[in-house]
């Protein structure tokens, strides 16, 4: 039996990269998972369901849009019957040096990476409050802690997630709902693949554990924070970065 058997989970930005690894891990631990992405990925959901023997269903959801989030989450909670775990993972980058950064690039990153966390958390809060239990895991970034030239928007959004994580942890604690964040370091995904090789090599050389992280490294930490084993942990920011922030 997996440590999440019977749990109902929602993962945003779940069609690829870290989000897909998280959805796969939660499902492999026995959770039914609603995977959210910008378009419906029925084949992916069917494949995960078949391979892992749980219910995985795909939903299209623009997580930055209030009304869409309300409607889609209502549907998901009706479909699954409840929700135990929310993983706010959806994120985009629109990198650029500040002097050249467009308003749209700043706003889009804040909307998708930060506003979405507010909207999705609010959409599950009532159900979790009523149950007197729940797990919310937000995916921040090491760049929320360190800063990164060219990522004023991304770093601000990810740092905002840390503030929201701590506030929500305080707000929901009396109802048995824990809220934590993970700050991934350099993880090999499509997002980081966009970087040039020299930058990647520079990073890898700085990582104490000597390798770039895998999406599964992050997923394992999420599964722990989403499990009953982590019931006494809330308001924390867990680095999954090979020691980069040590």
């Amino acid at each position: 039996m997996g440590k999440l058997t019977g749990k109902k989970a929602i993962v945003t930005g779940a069609s690829r990269g870290i989000g897909l690894a998280i959805a796969t891990k939660l499902a492999s631990e026995g959770a039914d998972v609603a995977i959210l992405s910008t378009s419906v990925k029925e084949d992916l959901a069917a494949k995960l369901s078949a391979e892992l023997g749980v219910q995985v269903k795909s939903y299209a959801c623009n997580v930055a849009d209030s009304e869409t989030v309300q409607n889609v989450f209502k549907q998901i909670i009706a479909d699954m019957g409840t929700v135990d775990i929310l993983v706010n993972n959806a994120g985009i980058t629109r990198d650029g040096l500040l002097m050249r950064m467009k308003d749209e690039d700043f706003d889009a990153v804040i909307a998708t990476n930060l506003r979405s966390v507010f909207l999705c958390t609010r959409a599950v809060a009532r159900t979790m409050m009523g149950k007197r239990t729940g797990r919310i895991v937000n995916i921040s970034s090491i760049n929320a802690l360190h800063g990164q030239a060219g990522q004023a928007n991304y770093a601000a959004a990810k740092a905002g997630i840390i503030g929201m994580t701590k506030s929500n942890a305080m707000e929901f604690a009396s109802r048995g709902i824990t809220v934590n964040a993970i700050a991934p370091g350099f993880i090999g995904t499509d997002m980081t693949a966009a970087m040039d090789d020299a930058t990647k090599e520079k990073y890898a050389a700085q990582i104490p554990l000597g390798r770039i992280g895998k999406p599964e490294d992050v997923a394992n930490a999420v599964a722990f924070l989403a499990s009953d084993d982590a019931c006494y942990i809330t308001g924390q920011i867990l680095g999954v970065d090979g020691g980069l922030n040590a």
Binding site: R126, M129, G130, E171, S174, R175
Partner: protein
């Protein structure tokens, strides 16, 4: 006071605050008598909105000290 509304409000309070129906009286105060904290109040207001299909602004909800206040508010909204 509208008895029917009072009964429905009582049912919502019993459900959300986990108190006994006989302990819910018109003069019961949410904080002192019914043990509601700020989150309980929010949950209660949202449940009342659903039950009676009315919108309750935070500025209205802040004025709910006792059960009779809620019943009077709903009565006025439904009138």
């Amino acid at each position: 006071m509208n008895e029917e509304i009072f009964k429905k409000v009582t049912a919502v309070i019993v459900d959300k605050l986990g108190v006994k129906a006989e302990d819910v009286k018109p003069e019961s105060e949410f904080g002192n008598d019914l043990g509601a904290d700020s989150l309980d109040r929010v949950e209660l207001v949202m449940a009342l909105e659903d039950e009676f299909e009315v919108e309750i602004l935070d500025s209205d909800a802040e004025k709910f000290a006792k059960v009779a206040d809620v019943v009077a508010f709903i009565e006025a909204k439904k009138a």
